[in-house]
């Protein structure tokens, strides 16, 4: 079952209007931990402590400051920030359509599934799914919901429309910042490396993978709850493959894979 409706809006470009409802596309389950005091096992409470007076400061005595230089702040109150709210609108405006393949996964943020707003939509949804699929494009769009403005990509997948929020260009760190050096590789190393990848190629079948760690963690917790002792295991560290071992290791890998 899909989750509840998060927002209702109208996709718009040219003469087209398609009313839709947003739903969460992902649901994550994970084991939650709390922070305890080692001495008495009690659950700890978070407190904000004044660095000067060393006392706990309740939320009504907290203000937001923007640090202009060390120790100097501009105080901004909640009412001022409240004014920076985009105009309320139902429009999800598409500005342009780009080839889907051009959107690097590094830009993709949060994904929603769209439901046609059946009471208002005579069939625009299915026509838009078909059109986007045939042209292999994604609609780059902006909209405002929950007092925030967003920009995202509207894409078709199967019979569904999906909306993914996009990161802003300056939020993605450029590869140049990694300061990687250029290292020469021999044709033979590249050839064997490529052969090895082809040997290990497989279709993407996500169903094959389950979160085994979560299951093992659950077992460990049950074991501990029964009062059993837990065996401590330590990771084994692999020695790095150095530059002069690389070719020999690649050849051995390829032999192993055959």
């Amino acid at each position: 079952m899909a989750g509840g409706t998060i927002w209702k809006g109208i996709i718009h470009f040219g003469e087209t209007h398609v009313p839709v409802k947003l739903h969460a596309a992902i649901k994550e389950e994970r084991i939650q931990f709390h922070l305890l005091h080692q001495r008495d096992g009690l659950k700890l409470q978070q407190m904000m402590i004044c660095a000067h007076e060393k006392i706990a400061v309740p939320s009504e005595a907290q203000v937001k400051g923007f640090e202009v230089e060390e120790g100097k702040y501009i105080i901004v109150d909640a009412a001022e920030l409240e004014q920076i709210v985009p105009e309320s609108s139902r429009l999800l405006e598409i500005h342009e359509f780009v080839p889907s393949a051009q959107i690097d996964p590094l830009f993709l943020d949060h994904v929603y599934t769209l439901e046609p707003d059946a009471t208002l939509d005579p069939g625009g949804y299915t026509a838009l799914v078909a059109a986007l699929q045939e042209l292999g494009v994604a609609g780059i769009c902006t909209w405002a919901m929950r007092k925030r403005s967003y920009h995202g990509a509207l894409q078709a997948c199967g019979k569904a429309l999906r909306l993914t929020t996009l990161r802003y260009a300056d939020e993605v760190i450029a590869v140049a910042a990694l300061e990687l050096g250029e290292i020469p590789l021999s044709e033979r190393e590249l050839q064997i490396g490529s052969d090895l990848i082809k040997q290990m190629a497989a279709p993407f079948q996500p169903q094959k993978f389950v979160n085994e760690h979560q299951q093992k963690l659950q077992q460990l917790l049950e074991q501990k709850a029964r009062g059993e002792k837990v065996r401590i295991l330590r990771p084994r560290l692999l020695p790095p493959t150095t530059a002069d071992q690389l070719l020999e290791r690649l050849e051995a890998s390829l032999k192993k894979a055959v």
Binding site: D40, K43, L44, M48, C50, H52, Y73, I74, H95, R249
Partner: protein, 260 residues
């Protein structure tokens, strides 16, 4: 720009082992504010308080607990947590290579970069180059901050990027909200395709700016100069305390949670 490491370990690519460091690939562009005390404008620091002892608890006395019944916690040590999947917490073992085009983008979660550590530079370079040549990306599993991720390692401009993937069990079925059989109105579709063609462009993410951020900065600019306050001086040792591992870990976990 010095990129802070989040994790370090090894990429296992068959018999080749590449020592690497995991670093951020994205930095949220939000304008960061500090919480201050409204009387003396001193910055606030987050501390944990024990309601039983009625005192602040230093990081070395903080452990994690799993709630087995209301208000009953099973304490668990960092060592015990680390021994759940010891190998995967140190090694990103590539099990197969896939075509990224086959991956439904709904699976992509959070991106990182991998940077080679000393001695691993050549093997790193080779993996990036051969993945680029073959158009393939690695698929692996690894454990970070007590959580196991299915990840893809892809080549991007000579670097290795690691993108965490959702498990298929985390993807909500959409058959109850998406039209099942809908016949496509051919005329409607043709009309839409015409509009789409007129709006065709290349993906240029730099064309879009975060309007909220711009407005917040504008607001700050307007207040600059006349409205600053100064916090009382506090010696570094008092304000910061020892490096806090639990807090650092928590930060990673919250950060990851915020991506959802």
């Amino acid at each position: 720009m010095a990129l802070q490491g989040i994790w370090s370990g090894t990429i296992g690519f068959s018999l080749v082992a590449i020592p690497v460091r995991l670093v951020k690939a994205v930095a949220p562009g939000r304008v960061a504010f500090r919480l201050l005390h409204n009387t003396d404008y001193s910055p606030l620091t987050r501390r944990m308080f024990c309601p039983g002892q009625e005192e602040l608890v230093p990081p070395e006395e903080i452990i994690r607990g799993f709630e087995i019944a209301p208000d009953h916690y099973l304490p668990i040590t960092a060592e015990e947590l680390a021994s759940v999947s010891p190998e995967r917490s140190r090694t990103i073992e590539i099990v197969e290579f896939i075509d990224l085009e086959e991956v439904d983008p709904i699976y992509f979660d959070h991106p990182y970069y991998l940077v080679p550590l000393k001695g691993g530079e050549k093997a790193y370079r080779l993996l990036a180059e051969v993945m680029h040549r073959t158009g393939k990306a690695g698929l692996a599993k690894f454990v970070l901050a007590e959580r196991e991720y299915l990840v893809t390692i892809k080549s991007t401009e000579g670097a290795l990027a690691l993108v965490t993937l959702h498990y298929s069990a985390e993807i909500l079925p959409d058959n109850d909200i998406v039209p099942r059989e809908g016949t496509v109105a051919a005329g409607e579709k043709r009309r839409m395709e015409q509009s789409i063609r007129q709006l065709r462009a290349d993906f240029k993410p730099e064309k879009y700016a975060d309007q909220r951020r711009e407005k917040v900065l504008e607001l700050l600019k307007g207040k600059m100069g006349n409205a600053t306050v100064t916090a009382p001086a506090v010696t570094e040792a008092e304000s910061e305390g020892p490096p806090d591992l639990v807090a650092a870990l928590e930060e990673i976990m919250t950060e990851m949670k915020q991506q959802r």
